[in-house]
Symmetry: C2
Subunit: 575 residues, 2 copies
């Protein structure tokens, strides 16, 4: 009997006698064709009216977190429904390159349907925006078409068993007047394309015969707000575009171009090592990019921008042709609405526990830029930790008792580990030892005191692609092993409660960060305080980004874009 | 003395003593460095206040005609100012490929500044639209920014010595109600990008869970109006896109897709050979593209389209998700306004003489789709031709007299040549011979009679890229040899007037035409009635188009796009 005829027979049998299924599965496992038969059985079931209904997982968003989740999912026992206003995944670290045409927009995107098709699972996709989450009825409400203005609006709702919120953030304007109306953002592919159009448009406008020199200078004043990696990279890309390509086509305008970078803090790239910050500031000065530190924007007008200088307290106003705003991430209105429903007021994002589950919801997860992990404090649980450890209820903890729980403590409260490393302590026993000689027997008060400073090491994770991608993969991995881990939980001891947590908590691994500075120079900060600046890092950047791209198609396209740029330069056609 | 120091010295000398220039030029010519010194002298002049003002040529448009003109210009004694709302040249024959992502938009465009820079001339470009031509004051009025809505409108005017109008046409709606509002056109890069977005949008919309099967079918009804090469190629591209790429990502929708091609005439591709027409119609039928012949669209609604069937006279209405309108070329409003100023009423385009000069204007030329050549009729001039030929004023034309002018007649009135070839006559003497035996001596009446049918061979040139490009190159060539041909005119005898025409008249050379039919099949009709259909023509098409592309950059990009499509398929991300 061939496999296909086996399939048909088996399907028919299941269809006609659903109650037989289990015994058949057992038989088939014995005969050695277990997995296939099991899968077939499930799909046959879902074809004939969902006798064993699959659990429905709704994923909101196709950014780093959502896409990474879909890519990592393996378990066919879920129906996955992805909802996003974008039918593609965008490789956002290359967005600044798209603004100037170093890389084409289409080279850094991959249709989500392509990605999900490769996973081999039953993934449905709807191009729509979720505008309301109803956790009581396990429903999300969606709307298609408000952006595109092509066919009117279409509304619908989707039921879920599990909801995964990965909608990302929006650009944070800090309610600065005029930003929303007059500034350009750099979060989405459309933003990058809009910036590209605008830059060329300004050069074309400044070339018109009726434009005075004064006016040319105003038009060609580019202001970048925010000295983070995105703002810095955009300023560098723009500088290169102007001085490598546009200078040939608009030779009379080049002297009128001015690029200004406004940063409210003391330094640009302040999340990087001091050496990188210094190098970047010096390089920008050499390039003629005007870096204004301690300069907080208070208003963006249609044609000018005002910033308050921290030193003098004065408000300085300067003309601009274009402002690019890149100062960080804020909460999207739909997420804010959901946070209100949950009573999460005044939080910087949707709060989850260490397993990425939204606080107060059993079946809703949140990842990426729209979420923040509420790491549990040691001090909150200090009494229950002590009690759990103190097995003989003696009120004192001795070395043996302590060794039984130390692994669980460190896993449940990662800040302990960070604190130990920071203070160069070998292990937790060192932290608890009263002096070099004394043996380890401590009471609750001493225990509290020793751990009192540990919670200060808790930090929010940065809003980066790396974090989002790791979270998506982590969560999918949990879903893949849901049943297995139900039986054999692998997480740490529950200090409040019985047994162990089902999964290990999410733990972020930092692989380093790049800051391209233009002119084939990149700064790289890698784990272990390793800093590299220059052309070699640029090549490291090229190779890391090429390898990280989501598909062979995008990889080939981006590499050919880089090649094209080396040979022909960047294109300045206004399309 | 090095060349650069020579340049500086010479410039200074010219600057200080302009009147010396001629003698210095003579000296330099004697010393062997003529051309360089002459050019330097001219540029030095224009730097120091235009003592010898250059003639200013204003070119309106950066399509095939305008770009071809700029590319072919060599004479540095003109200041060229190009005005166009698009700062790039687009290789329009590949537009249908852009609609479905077979080729990327950016691969088929080249910035006009890049093209003009390579010509080595002083070419200025303004991204603006000319909205009024004032031939009395030699001025054009331009406006920038009304399309982009980015920075408000900027208006200015430019003076010209010569004006070259190459603004192209607009899509002709034949005033059919609803077309302007509800149909998609396929003339510009933006149109192609809009169509691409819309196609994906329709598939995404049809995938939404709230859309009924009925509604899916309506959304995925694509109607193409016009069975010319563009409409046919678009229908074929769309079919390939759906059946090669989208079928993998939207498998459940493929059965709902319907492509309909409406053609008012009896056949699609009716300017091609019958064999090609038949092949195309059969292929489309096999592919499931519904070709409705004799079907004239009377109304395009938001969601349905009505067409009158010529056979039955009935009006049939069908739903559509998208209508692509490709029925030919109409006159742009600015050209219409100019035609009214000149009294050219009820003409299909701006009328020029055979030298592409606008009728009634000495220094204005019109080329490409916005112009039509008013070929002079033989019968209008029959008397003056006879008189000019009849040198001895005998009232009779003999063989010797006739031989003196026959070349000029054929050059001035190309319809004569076409008529002879069509009737398989060896030369004009054959046409005039009364019978096989008689010698050639004819009077005016007989002469008239013999040539009476010749004018029936006059035809308007098709509105194609080939015609426009040849016209642009022809006109630039005339400008390049303006002074030379002033002295040594090379054109035919002036029958009304004295002497010869300065230039030969424009003569179109047809190099054949392609009609890609999808599925790697192309029909080609080459000169000499040579017809080729199939995959070999597709490869001919690839190689001809690759070689005709405007720059090495576009060539490399288009070829890599083709390669990418073969390997990875077309992208369906909605950006």
């Amino acid at each position: 009997m061939s496999w296909s005829s086996f399939y048909h027979t088996a399907s028919r049998v299941f269809h006609e006698y659903p109650s037989w299924s289990k015994s058949v599965v057992v038989c088939t496992i014995i005969s050695g064709g277990g997995l296939v038969a099991y899968n077939d059985a499930r799909s046959a079931y879902s074809d004939c009216g969902d006798q064993i209904p699959k659990k429905k997982v709704v994923v909101l968003g196709t950014g780093w977190a959502g896409t990474s989740f879909v890519k990592t999912m393996k378990d066919p026992s879920y129906d996955i429904h992805v909802v996003s206003p974008r039918n593609y995944f965008a490789f956002t670290p290359l967005l600044p390159s798209v603004t100037c045409g170093t890389v084409e927009a289409r080279s850094v995107v991959e249709p989500i349907r392509n990605i999900s098709r490769k996973s081999g699972l039953n993934v449905q996709f709807s191009e729509a925006e979720c505008y309301k989450i109803d956790p009581k009825n396990n429903k999300v409400y969606c709307r298609a078409g408000q952006d595109k203005k092509l066919d009117g609006i279409e509304e619908f709702s989707i039921d879920y068993d599990y909801l995964i919120i990965a909608m990302g953030g929006r650009s944070n304007t800090f309610n600065t007047p005029g930003v929303q109306e007059n500034a350009y953002f750099l979060k989405e592919i459309e933003d990058a394309l809009r910036i590209r159009q605008k830059v060329i448009n300004l050069f074309e406008r400044a070339s018109l015969p009726s434009i005075s020199v004064e006016e040319k200078k105003k038009l060609l004043s580019f202001v970048v707000v925010g000295g983070g990696p995105t703002g810095v990279e955009f300023a560098a890309e723009l500088h290169d575009f102007v001085h490598e390509d546009l200078c040939k086509l608009y030779p009379s305008l080049i002297n009128h171009v001015k690029i200004t970078l406004l940063e409210a803090g003391d330094h640009i790239l302040n999340m990087f090592d001091k050496r990188i910050t210094e190098f970047a500031e010096k390089k920008f000065n050499r390039n003629g990019i005007d870096v204004k530190l301690g300069s907080m924007v208070v208003k963006v007008g249609e044609k000018d921008i005002s910033a308050k200088e921290r030193g003098s307290g004065q408000v300085v106003t300067m003309p601009h042709g274009m402002v690019v705003w890149s100062t960080g991430i804020g909460v999207r209105p739909e997420i804010l609405d959901f946070m209100k429903q949950l009573g999460q007021i005044n939080r910087r994002a949707l709060v989850t526990d260490e397993w990425l589950r939204v606080e107060g919801c059993d079946n809703i997860y949140a990842l990426g830029d729209c979420a923040t992990i509420n790491q549990r404090r040691v001090m909150e649980d200090i009494a229950v930790i002590f009690n759990k450890a103190d097995k003989n209820n003696s009120g004192m903890l001795d070395l043996k008792e302590f060794k039984n729980v130390v692994g669980d403590i460190i896993e449940r409260y990662p800040q302990v580990d960070i604190y130990l490393k920071k203070n160069q302590m070998k292990d937790m026993a060192t932290l608890l030892k009263k002096s070099q000689e004394s043996s380890l027997t401590v009471d609750i008060e001493y225990f509290k005191d020793a751990l009192s400073k540990v919670d200060s090491q808790m930090k929010n994770l940065p809003a980066t692609a790396q974090v989002a991608a790791q979270q998506g993969a982590y969560l999918a991995d949990c879903f893949n092993r849901m049943e297995l881990c139900e039986k054999y939980p692998e997480g740490p001891l529950r200090f409040r409660g019985i047994g162990r947590h089902r999964f290990r908590a999410f733990r972020y691994k930092h692989f380093g960060q790049f800051a391209p500075l233009g002119g084939e120079q990149t700064a790289a900060q890698l784990p272990g305080d390793w800093v590299s600046i220059g052309q070699s890092s640029q090549w490291l950047w090229y190779s890391v980004y090429a390898s990280k791209l989501v598909s062979w198609r995008t990889r080939a396209l981006v590499i050919s874009d880089w090649g094209r740029r080396f040979i022909f330069g960047r294109d300045s056609s206004q399309i």
